[in-house]
Amino acid sequence: MPKRKHTTVSIPIIMYKKIEKMIQDTGFSSVSEWVSYVLREVLVNMKKEKRKDAKVSEEDEKKIKDRLRALGYL
């Protein structure tokens, strides 16, 4: 059986209707597509924000992960 790629989350019906109206003529074919797009943006921004606070640079983080891999931790 193929692995499921999507799942269901609930939002208030009133919000759903507002989004449905708002995305008319925007190229988004469904509320689900728009919500996925927005959440993806939010997640990317959250990751960027987290990076800003991080004590380890992205380059060092990569080196550290390589070392952890070499030891079998990853």
């Binding site: 550290i64 891999r69 070499a70 030891l71 079998g72």
Partner: protein, 253 residues
Amino acid sequence: MLVIGIDGATWDIIKPNLDELPTFRKLMESCSQKTIHLKDKPWSASVWCSMFSGLSPNEHQHYDFVKDGELVERKDLNLDFIWDKLDQKGISVKAINIPFIVPPYNYKVNFIPPGEGVPISEQELVDEINSVTEKTLEILKENPELVITCYTALDKLSHHHWGEPIMLDYYKRIDESLSKLVELDDQLIIISDHGFCNYDKAPIQTLPRKTKTGKIIKGDHHPEAILITKNIDFDIKQPEDVFRFLAKKYEVK
């Protein structure tokens, strides 16, 4: 009060080689020593976290250096460690190279570990042992109430070189470093987070046989850790008991 952590140290190498490890021999003769039989998984991030937070892995929920593809940092752990609690009470405390995260954590100490905090090459391992010792000596001169310091080199070496003669060379280096530290305080705890053993003899397999980089893992973590104490009137049975002892000693909750 001085706490020295030695990641991955095992009696299996120390006890048969006491003739070549004079500081350990002296400590064994003059101090209390025992084996800690870990009830939880012998996994560094989690054990060190328990040791200095007083929480079981189930309580602190910190298991790995990397979570969801990201390095775990101190700020990701919503808990107080012993140094946080002591500092809140105005008790001077310093911590050096504590490996519940990578790079290992420092409290009120500026220490840059060799090898991005995960030393692997022989030079990096030697550098770590020497630099941790030097920094600890420097900190001890400031005379804080509590100093906690950790070496990770033996653990890293054991992954790839368990069973090889080189293991003893590095235990000798640790022994020499200890000789510079152990006389500097009347109260002392030396502890490992887990032991080590031949990969095939590990009661709990914690590492893959072959790493993603193609390296063969020769040793695996063992749930028997070492404990040596001097003037510590407290029964340390599990890593969390180190926190409990320190919390009792300094009257913090």
